[in-house]
């Protein structure tokens, strides 16, 4: 048999599937992004101009940036702190299980839970939301957690994301942390390092590659964040994010052109982080 042609035969099923379900939709999305709402008139870069200049989109960009910084910082940071501190706790396994638990809950369920936590009633009515009940019990005024723009409501949404994802970061970092030879930390202590210096000069460098993987994973997730916002505010009160914007343009306003343009923008924003992740993965494979 001619091997020159045979390999195409073996590749055909994969190529076919990729072509139909990945390449074609991508190309089609890019094509549609240059057309009007009903995909019948060519509008050039009109959709892109709108995607980068319209007020709702600018708010969505700002919010995504806020998510990117705050969400990533808190999930990775708290995950790291918990991984290191819980290593010294007797009931480590139980506490870690509890912190990891939200990962097992769907965003819809998480959204429902947190809408109760954030629930807001006028001052005269009893507060059924957990947070406001606490605030009122302490003698404060109830807060519209999902209404107060632009910081409180956005941070309240980010907190939900952090609640869900911190456990994941903690578990991955904890596994890596336990891989650090104890003698190395002891050697550093004898060398004259205090606990912070051990953490800074021995622990962190050892966890570097794991930290990079966790961080890029969180960034890729946060750029695509949708469910939490969709469930809790659907973008109201200036809490919109790019993915939710795209969903609304597509399925609420039937503006296929603009929705496609937003999709392309989101796609381009994620690419660099995917590349970083893949590169890192490759170098790790190369080491093996």
């Amino acid at each position: 048999m001619n091997m020159g042609r045979a390999h195409w035969l073996y590749l055909a099923p994969a190529l076919l599937l990729l072509g139909v379900f990945l390449v074609y939709p991508s190309v089609e999305t890019i094509r549609l992004s240059f057309y009007g709402p009903r995909s019948d008139t060519f509008v050039g870069f009109q959709n892109y101009i709108q995607a980068f200049t319209s007020r709702p989109m600018l708010i969505a960009f700002r919010n995504n940036l806020l998510w990117l910084v705050v969400f990533t910082l808190f999930t990775v940071g708290m995950g790291l702190v918990l991984a290191v501190l819980l290593d010294r706790v007797r009931y480590e396994a139980i506490i870690k299980s509890v912190i990891f638990l939200p990962m097992a809950i769907s965003y819809v369920a998480a959204g429902v839970i947190w809408r109760f936590v954030y629930a807001f009633r006028p001052v005269v009515a009893p507060q059924i939301g957990l947070l406001n009940a606490i605030v009122v019990a302490l003698g404060g005024q109830p807060v519209g957690w999902l209404i107060e723009r632009p910081w409180i409501n956005n941070l309240a949404l980010i907190a939900v994301g952090v609640w869900v994802w911190t456990g994941f970061c903690m578990v991955v970092l904890s596994a890596a942390y336990k891989g650090i030879p104890k003698e190395m930390q002891e050697a550093a202590r004898i060398d004259g390092a205090n606990e912070w210096q051990v953490f800074r000069h021995v622990t962190i460098p050892f966890l570097k590659s794991t930290l990079a993987v966790v961080t890029t994973t969180m960034i890729v997730f946060v750029l695509k964040v949708f469910d939490i916002v969709y469930m809790m505010t659907n973008g109201a009160y200036d809490t919109d994010v790019i993915a939710n914007r795209m969903y609304n343009e597509m399925f609420q306003f039937n503006n296929y052109g603009l929705a496609s343009a937003i999709a392309v923008v989101l796609f381009l924003a994620i690419i660099p982080f995917l590349v970083i992740n893949i590169r890192r993965f490759r170098t790790q494979e190369a080491v093996r």
Partner: protein
């Protein structure tokens, strides 16, 4: 430099006593080896000196200072670990410089000390290499260098040679001895290897079940083991132990057991031994203190016994003979050129001036 003193030091892990009232004094500049089987508490003792384990009871002094509650970083000690514990993300230079940087030693001084240590250890051209690029022996040298540059009061070694192959271990052993001769830093060295203990230690503490069984010069421990454990642990092959009874005939002392009756030489017939006449004892004789008549010049009367050879292990410079003496096994280290065959009946000569007698109950040495 400083002396190290352990005073009634105890360490408990829950209900398990790992170290039991250990009292030990290491003189300024002395090289002391803690040796014993695994689980004897030697490493735990070392880690308590390092400050890596809390002390349940007792006191540890480094120099004049009681260090029970002093964290490791303030004890001015350096430790070398079994698996080297180098920092993998730092090159050799920075591995050695790390402790000095933390202590805010001036950069010029760090450079000088690291280079002179690297020179001393022969790793000068490796200063830019990462630990993973080094061989086991080189890694151990870096770990040593990391300890040396600090110029600490005390060196602590936790089985530093056990990850090296046999040949390298012998060489590093000699290098460690030489290093101590040059630096004269107080050293506590933990090992399970009796050869390391004998060759390196100016004094050796033999430990078992958290207790120091004997603490003395290596030759003294070999010549006059304090009890059966030490006698059996130091020396290879291990000392022969035979159940026996001390008897007195015509003013002469004999040690008599199944298949042998041997005369105790006059100079070894101490008062303590005479006081034990009639009691059950354990007669100990090292394999190297058993000969055959061909190997002995002079009188052999009262020193011979016979056995049946079971196994012969020729080692080139010696041969190890396992023989059956009235149902008990004895091991003898003999001249390799003697022609001995398994199954053969053989006459042995015990060098009775080197006999050991232990109390059967307490296992303590009587003579």
């Amino acid at each position: 430099m400083a002396e190290v003193r352990l005073n009634e030091v105890t360490k408990k892990f829950g209900n398990f006593t790992a170290v039991d009232r250990v009292t030990l004094e290491v003189h300024d500049g002395e090289f002391v080896v803690l040796v014993g089987p695994s689980g004897c508490g030697k490493t735990t003792s070392l880690r308590m000196v390092a400050g890596l384990e809390d002390i349940t009871a007792g006191d540890i002094y480094i120099g004049e200072r009681r260090v029970n509650d002093v964290p490791p970083k303030d004890r001015d000690i350096a430790m070398v670990f079994q698996n080297y514990a180098l920092y993998p993300h730092m090159d050799v230079y920075n591995n050695m410089a790390f402790g000095l940087k933390l202590r805010k030693v001036p950069k010029k001084e760090i450079e000088r000390r690291v280079h002179s240590a690297a020179e001393l250890l022969g790793i000068k051209e490796k200063l830019k290499a990462k630990p993973r690029e080094l061989s086991g022996g080189q890694r151990q040298r870096v770990a040593l260098g990391r300890a040396i540059v600090r110029d600490p009061k005390v060196f602590l070694f936790d089985e530093p040679l056990s990850n090296l192959d046999a040949k390298l271990r012998v060489r590093m052993r000699a290098e460690l001895a030489e290093l101590h001769l040059r630096l004269k830093t107080t050293t506590v060295y933990v090992t399970h290897d009796q050869v390391e203990a004998m060759t390196l230690g100016q004094r050796v503490a033999v430990m078992k079940d958290g207790v120091v069984m004997q603490y003395d010069k290596p030759q003294t421990i070999y010549d006059r083991p304090a009890n059966m454990f030490v006698a059996g642990f130091i020396g290879s092959p291990a000392m022969n132990f035979l159940e026996a009874r001390l008897i007195s005939e015509d003013g002469r002392l004999y040690v008599q057991g199944k298949g042998f009756k041997l005369l105790v030489p006059e100079e070894r017939a101490s008062d303590g031994l005479r006081a034990s006449v009639g009691r059950d004892v354990v007669f100990g004789i090292r394999p190297e203190d058993i000969r055959t008549p061909e190997m002995v010049h002079g009188e052999t009367a009262g020193r011979t016994f016979s056995g049946k050879v079971r196994v012969r292990e020729p080692l080139g410079d010696e041969q190890i003979i396992y023989a059956d003496v009235a149902g008990d096994e004895i091991v003898a280290k003999l001249d390799p050129r003697l022609e001995i065959e398994p199954g053969q009946d053989l006459t042995f000569v015990a060098m009775m001036e080197r006999l050991h007698i232990f109390d059967k109950e307490t296992e303590r040495a009587i003579a």
